[in-house]
Structures are given as C-alpha cells and as structure tokens.
C-alpha cells in the first residue's frame, strides 16, 4: 500500500518544528527584535500561493475574483518581504562591537 503524500508533508512539518525550536533557542536575546522582523519576512513566502492564484485566470479573463484576490495578496506579501528584510538589514547594521583600544 502506498503512503499518502500528506504523511510526507506532515513529517516535514513536524521535523521543521523541532528544527525551529532548537534554532530559535540559540538566537541571542539581543537579536529578538530582528528575529521577529525576519520571521515576518520569510513567512511571506506565502506569496508563492498568491502568485499561483493571480495567474489562475485565463488570458481572456485575467480579472476573475480569485485572481484579483491573488493580486492583492501579492501586494501584501511583497510589502512584508521587502519591508521585513530591509528593516532587518537596517537593524542588524546597527549592532556593532566595542572598538578596541580607543
């Protein structure tokens, strides 16, 4: 009997939770704010679904309800992706070590 592909996805999901658990505990507390902004940015990989939704309409009917929803979702996710990564970049650039022999 074949295994349902759902089980494979579930396995990936559960293992990723464990990876997340250990990786996040090793994040230094001083970087918790950048952690939040970067997790925000990466969770916007949901844009993948938005793109599929946006391109769902056929050429003579680009704007049906479901593709309009897709286009909106693309914009929202894009705000998050660009905003999230750039603001993280901006924050991380500020973390500096003490200058030696000053």
């Amino acid at each position: 009997m074949e295994i349902d592909p759902f089980i494979f996805r579930l396995s990936i999901f559960i293992l990723s939770i464990f990876i997340g658990y250990y990786v996040v505990w090793s994040v230094t507390p001083s970087l918790h704010t950048p952690l939040m902004s970067v997790t925000n940015a990466i969770s916007s990989v949901i844009i993948v679904g938005a793109i599929i939704a946006g391109l769902a309409g056929n050429s003579d009917n680009i704007f049906n309800t479901s593709s309009i929803l897709g286009f909106l979702a693309i914009s929202l996710a894009a705000i998050n992706i660009f905003g999230g990564f750039l603001v993280t970049q901006r924050m991380l650039a500020m973390y500096k070590k003490k200058k030696k022999d000053k």
Partner: protein, 466 residues
C-alpha cells in the same frame, strides 16, 4: 516550465536557506549573512513559482506590477520607520501575513482548479480542511494584529477592555469555529466559508482587546506564532515544502518568544491571554497609602553622584523609548567613560513593548552590543556597582517581586537595583507602573528621584558632567 519534482527540490532549498537565516541570528556577527540567506531563499522560491507555471499569459505583467507596488511600499516603510516604532511595525506586518493567508485560502476555495485541488463544490477533503485552518488562523492573526497595532500606536487605549461574560463568549466563538469548519468540510458550502472567516475575524479582535499595553511583548510574539501556523496551513493546501518549513519555523519561533516573555513576567501564558491584568490592581492599591517622603534631586546632584562613581549600570525601560532618550543616554555614557567610569547596560526580558526592543534602540544609538547584558548575566553586578541609573523602567526593578508574596508581581524576576550603593530614578512622576503597584525603591534611603522627561534630564546631566 520545470517539472514538479525539480521545483519541489528548489522549494526545499529555499526552506533550508530560511533555517540558515534564523541560525545566523545566534550572534550579531553572523546575522547579516543570515539575512542574506533569507533573501536568497525568497528569490529562489518566487523564481521557481514563475518557472513552474510557465505559461506567461498577460496576467504575468499584473503579477509583476502588484509585486512592485508592494515592494516599493515595503521598502519605503523599512527606510522611514523610526526604531522606536518597531513594535507597531511588526504588529502591522503580522496583520498583512494574516490577510494574505486569508486571501490565498479564499482564492483557492473559489478556484480550486488553479491549485489542482478539485473543482468548486468538490474540493478534496484534506485540502479543504487545511485551507479552512489556514483561513481561520490567518483571519485571527489579521484582526488580532490590527488591535495590537492600534494599541501600540496609541490610537486605541492601551488599558485592557473587559466586559462581563467575555470568556464564555470567546469560548463559544472558538467552539463555533470548530463546528462551522466541520460543516464547511462536509457540505462545501460557500456561505459557510464566509461565516468561518467572519467569526475568525471577530475572535481575533475579541482575544486581543482585554490585553493591556505592557503585555504586548507576549501578544506580538503570539501573533508572530499564529502567522506562522497560518502560513503552514496554506503550505499544506498548496503542497509546498518551502511554505510548510517556514510556517513551522515561524510558528515555533513565536511560541518560544511568548514563553520567554511570560517567564520574564512570571505569569502563565493563559494568565496573559485571558487579560485584564493591571486594571484591577490599580484600584486596590491606590488610596490606602499616604504619601511617603521621597528624595528628589536635579541633574546636578545626579552628575555629582555619577562622577564620583567607579561603575554605573544603566537600566532602560519603555519610558526611554517613549522619550526617544537613547541617543542622549549614549552621549551621557560617553562622557562618563571619558572620566574612566565603567558603564554597562542591564536589560530585563520584558523591558519595552516587544522582545529585544531595548537592544535595538541602544544599537541604534551606537551602543556596542558587548556592553549590553541580559538579566542573568548582570544581576550579581549590582551589589558591586556604585550607581544604578534607571531610565524609564519601573516594575522590572521592584523589590516587592522578591519580598512581598501579596504583590501581584511576586515571583517575577527583577533586576537587583536596590543593591547598588545609590539609585538614580528618572521618571516623570511618582505614578505607579503598569502593574499599578507602588515601588518601594522610590522611598529608599539611597534612592534619588529625578522627576523629568528622560531625554531632557539625561541631556542636563551630561552638561553637568563636563
């Protein structure tokens, strides 16, 4: 057009890159590289999606246009936002993830063929369940984050909003979400889908309104977690590994942060979520105490004390963020250092309105991160320090948390500020902190209260130090 297997491998690679992005944050040195991995992962995921669809219909141009519009808005916000507004920004961003999840789920529900999920009214059962969960969690994330955003922005009162029967009502709505999901999956009815969305929006709103301003670190972390679970739900629907991995990472990340924040307040997660903290205590404690004498001083006294010290520990709190005093503070510290005074910073886990809030502000003011310490690292040093300079913090220094079992904050880990030879307290007035409890520290022999705006006071002290 690339094969489904190949694109699945690329999605896996981008998932791994996202793990590396979080891994990089274990130290500031590797963090920038980590962020780069994150960006790379995102570029791969988006590119592969385009390639796997292949048919570059005229819709493609619209995808690019909307991507560009969103990107420009996002970039603009990222460059303009002041660091003090980071909690609002993150809450706002969470709401967008939530809404995007709702939109994608709705789109998949209305047009399942595009996602290979069956046909309208005949969607595969598994997909429908996943989609409903994604949509419901996304909706809760959206409306909850909007409320958190409004509270942090000050557009809505930060005090808890409670009413009679709140908890039974919330429980009822949560149960009805489960019931509606069940019937939605068995009947495939579109109207039930809309009802599910509506009650999920409602519960997100109701869950956050009873939670007060200073509990926002927990709320933001929790919503962070929700946005991850919503993404994972959609990931299952789309059978997309990148999305599943990311959702799990973000979900557990937010959960861990909420746990750390709750521990920082010695309160259970449910205690925070059920809300109403602070509002009840306020009325109980005010009134029964007559005014006790405090020693108040001015900038000159403070400068004198610090000049004669050999080590100073600075304890920043939300008040510093409100007064935008971080730059003035760093200038003061520079002057102290010129006088060969050792200065370090002590950060309480729940200082500020989000995890790590104070660290970012200090970093913005060019404070080197190796001078900034967490509670456990520095708490023993207070006994050997000459001056503790408390700027905009209150409850996190209250010794009642250690000595008074009656106190609502009893058991919360606090900074042992009172062990310093002298304590300088920059505060606008004697009013109690968020928890609504008096701080005994104000009345101690070795405490000097500096009643002023944090920024102005710090600037004046700097002048007096020269």
């Amino acid at each position: 057009m690339i094969s489904a297997n190949l694109s699945a491998i690329f999605y896996l690679i981008s998932g791994v890159l996202f793990i590396l992005a979080l891994r990089g944050l274990s130290s500031p040195e590797t963090s920038r590289q980590g962020n780069f991995f994150g960006i790379l992962g995102m570029v791969i995921a988006i590119t592969v999606t385009f390639l796997s669809i292949g048919s570059f219909s005229s819709g493609f141009i619209y995808v690019l246009i909307f991507l560009l519009i969103g990107g420009l808005i996002g970039a603009f916000i990222a460059y303009k936002i002041p660091m003090t507004a980071m909690p609002e920004l993150v809450a706002g961003f969470h709401s967008l993830v939530g809404l995007a999840a709702v939109l994608v789920a709705t789109s998949a529900f209305l047009n399942p063929e595009a996602f290979n999920l069956g046909s309208p009214g005949n969607i595969k059962l598994g997909s429908l369940i996943e989609m409903s969960i994604g949509a419901a969690v996304g909706a809760i994330t959206f409306s909850g984050s909007i409320i958190a955003f409004l509270k942090l922005q000050g557009m809505m009162s930060g005090s808890p909003i409670t009413f009679k029967g709140q908890h039974p009502l919330n429980a009822l709505i949560l149960i009805s979400i489960v019931i509606v999901t069940y019937f939605l999956c068995s009947t495939q009815s579109t109207s039930l889908f809309w009802i599910l969305l509506a009650i999920s929006f409602l519960i997100g709103f109701l869950l956050i309104i009873p939670i007060g301003g200073a509990d926002m670190p927990v709320v933001i972390s929790m919503l962070n977690s929700y946005s991850g679970w919503a993404a994972a739900g959609i990931g299952f629907t789309l059978e997309n590994t990148a999305l599943i991995i990311t959702g799990a990472l973000v979900g557990s990340s937010g959960a861990i942060l909420s746990y750390i924040m709750c521990k920082g307040m010695n309160r259970s997660f449910f205690n925070v979520i059920l809300g109403g903290f602070g509002a009840t205590q306020q009325s109980a404690t005010s009134g029964d105490k007559e005014q006790r004498p405090v020693k108040s001083g001015n900038a000159e006294d403070a400068a004198f004390l610090m000049k004669n010290a050999s080590s100073v520990i600075i304890v920043p709190g939300y008040g510093m963020a409100v007064a935008q005093a971080q730059h003035a503070l760093r200038e003061m510290v520079d002057t102290l250092k010129k006088n060969d005074i050792k200065v370090s910073y002590a950060i309480h886990p729940v200082a500020g309105r989000m995890p790590g809030h104070m660290n970012v502000l200090l970093a913005e003011a060019n404070v080197p991160y190796d001078e900034v310490f967490e509670l456990e690292e520095i708490n023993n040093d207070f006994a050997n320090a000459d001056v503790a300079f408390v700027i905009g913090a209150n409850d996190v220094t209250n010794p009642a948390a250690k000595s008074d079992p009656q106190s609502p904050i009893y058991g919360m880990p606090v900074l042992d500020v009172e062990k310093c030879k002298s304590v300088l307290f920059v505060k606008r007035s004697l009013s109690p902190g968020y928890a609504g409890i008096d701080n005994d520290l104000f009345y101690k022999e070795n405490t000097l209260m500096l009643f002023a705006d944090a920024k102005k006071m710090t600037e004046e002290i700097t002048k007096n130090l020269d």
